[in-house]
């Protein structure tokens, strides 16, 4: 049975922010009189994540992802709504709660820059009161999985971004939290490092039943790791379901890539929804009718154009997400 790890009900976060107007005089005036406006960063969000899930949390910049994560991490108090994570209210039982929580901020490091990462790990051991034997065992497990046996002995400033991120992950997981927030863990990494980190997340998830909440702009992270995805836009959850459902979000639309025998003019494609065009190739989007029959549309193409090759596919997930963001 699916056991809920995170439950958010009708959670909102409203900020009061200084409304700045343009210009020098407006700046001077603001010293004496300020106008404020309220900004709703998240608006009555409902979310449930089950134990052992790897949940993708995505959305455009400024959508409310970070605010959601910060509320879940106990960093911010919501303005209204209910939050229960592992049976606790994060901001009310913060210290007890964060003992069972791991957080990796992809763009912020918690490693000591001038010292080997293993020194920061030792600090974590002290901070979370990890018994020495468990600490050794976990460090062996993590360093073996990530291949950082030698890396963690070098000063952090000498490490590559990928090596550093691996050490950040270990740092966040040494106390074996059942829940981990990963905020853009693969940002700026090369393909090999990305794959290594994803494999690591999958291993830990499988071996230890750790629940991960992953925010990312890299959709390959989602495709590789997550079964379910939550999309937040303008502070509202606009999609909360499986990745397969997301892929099928525009299932009535197809993308048709066509290669021509000879160059054609763009005007030859009038009446089609052309996405990309060169004289020898074009990409067209078709909206199918309610029967889902694409033959009539394809017939129009084959009749009117000198088709050499044709490929019919679903709308790419990037495109689906872009459409959702723009909605």
């Amino acid at each position: 049975m699916d056991e809920p790890m995170i439950r958010m009900r009708k959670v909102s976060k409203i900020y009061k922010v200084h409304h700045r107007t343009e210009g020098f005089w407006a700046s001077l005036k603001s010293v004496f009189h300020r106008e404020y406006k309220t900004v709703t960063a998240v608006d009555r969000i409902d979310l449930q994540v089950n134990r052992g899930e790897i949940r993708g949390l995505i959305g455009p910049n400024g959508a409310g992802k970070s605010t959601t994560i910060k509320i879940l991490a106990g960093v911010l108090h919501p303005s209204s709504g209910e939050v229960q994570v592992m049976g606790m209210v994060p901001w009310k039982e913060r210290e007890k709660y964060v003992r069972r929580l791991g957080v990796v901020f992809g763009q912020k490091s918690q490693l000591w820059w001038d010292l080997p990462a293993v020194d920061t790990f030792a600090l974590q051991k002290e901070m979370y009161k990890i018994p020495t034997s468990a600490y050794r065992e976990r460090l062996d497990y993590f360093s073996h999985l990530l291949g950082i046996g030698e890396v963690m002995q070098k000063p952090v400033r000498q490490l590559s971004l990928g090596e550093r991120m691996k050490c950040e992950l270990v740092c966040a997981m040494l106390h074996e939290p059942p829940l981990i927030f990963l905020d853009e863990p693969t940002i700026g990494l090369d393909v090999v490092s990305k794959e290594s980190i994803r494999n690591f997340i999958k291993h830990v998830n499988r071996d230890k039943q750790t629940t991960f909440i992953l925010t990312t702009h890299d959709l390959s992270d989602l495709e590789d790791l997550c079964e379910k995805v939550t999309i937040i836009n303008k502070g509202v959850v606009v999609f909360d379901d499986t990745l397969d459902k997301l892929r099928a979000y525009f299932s009535n639309k197809k993308i048709v890539e066509i290669h021509f025998d000879r160059p054609v003019a763009k005007s030859d494609l009038d009446g089609f929804d052309v996405r990309e065009f060169t004289p020898l190739a074009a990409t067209i989007e078709f909206a199918m009718d309610e029967t889902g029959d694409i033959r009539r549309e394809l017939g129009r193409v084959l009749d009117r154009l000198p088709v050499r090759d044709i490929n019919v596919g679903n709308i790419r997930i990037e495109e689906v997400i872009k459409q959702i963001y723009l909605t």
């Binding site: 605010t67 210290e95 901070m127 905020d183």
Partner: protein
């Protein structure tokens, strides 16, 4: 009470931060040696300047030159101690809040103020602390004041109350910073305010002196320890120790209120 329960853990955390900071300093030996010398010179300037002013004028009422040397030794010692214990706190808080990294403190299993304060160790404070202790000890011996066993617990009580008071002021300052983000010259004001303790409290007007004894008992940092070593006891000493501890409790309350207003930075 919750803060007290976390104290042993915070002390352990502080020890670890000390170890890591020392390790970091050892990684850059040249910088470490130069830093020590500079901090010794820098911390020593104020006491030497005071001594010169003192010897060239009528001095401070009730203080002789050898007594003032003892006072300067204690001042050097305290300045070194506060640098060693909390030297990095102000700058670190400014950076954390401005860069939105303060969040990291809130996901640690300790009170955030505790994590902030225990991460303030700066090895540069070691040289002035040792130099101050030596100067004060030599001055004490040369003054020929009789040593009493109770001086030691009293000095220790002043040191603890002094640390508590300084931590309280830092918490207030950092709490304000958490809310307003940009501190500007508030940091200077902080430094100027605590520098009132660089002079014997007895030279201030009575009302100001009373504030530094009973309300914001800056006297626990240098003045009362020096008075203790001069065998000049004062009933206000106990009140100052209590006021130092109370300041920490009040600051903790205010800190919690200010922390509730933390809004974090953008993602």
């Amino acid at each position: 009470m919750k803060g007290l329960a976390a104290l042993p853990g915070l002390v352990r955390l502080f020890v670890w931060h000390c170890k890591l900071d020392i390790s970091r300093n050892m990684a850059y030996r040249f910088n470490f040696v130069v830093g020590m010398l500079i901090s010794l010179l820098y911390s020593g300037v104020a006491p030497v300047a005071q001594y010169l002013v003192f010897s060239a004028t009528n001095g401070y009422p009730g203080w002789t030159v050898p007594q003032l040397v003892l006072f300067q030794g204690m001042l050097l010692f305290w300045n070194g101690m506060r640098t060693m214990l909390f030297g990095k706190v102000l700058q670190q808080t400014v950076t954390l809040v401005r860069m939105g990294e303060f969040d990291r403190l809130l996901v640690k299993p300790y009170p955030p103020a505790g994590v902030l304060l225990t991460g303030g160790f700066q090895l540069n404070g070691l040289a002035p602390t040792l130099a101050g202790a030596v100067v004060a000890a030599v001055a004490f011996v040369r003054l020929g004041v009789e040593w009493h066993w109770w001086m030691l617990p009293l000095l220790l009580a002043f040191l603890l109350a002094g640390i508590g008071l300084y931590a309280a002021l830092l918490m207030l300052f950092c709490g304000v910073l958490v809310v307003v983000v940009q501190m500007g010259r508030l940091g200077e004001l902080f430094e100027r305010a605590v520098s009132f303790s660089d002079y014997p409290i007895s030279i201030y007007p009575k009302a100001v002196g009373a504030v530094f004894r009973f309300v914001l008992p800056f006297a626990v940092w240098v003045y009362f320890p020096a008075q203790t070593l001069l065998n000049r006891l004062d009933a206000a000493m106990i009140a100052a120790v209590v006021a130092g501890a109370a300041a920490l409790l009040v600051a903790n309350r205010i800190w919690n209120v200010l922390l509730d207003r933390y809004t974090s930075a953008g993602g």
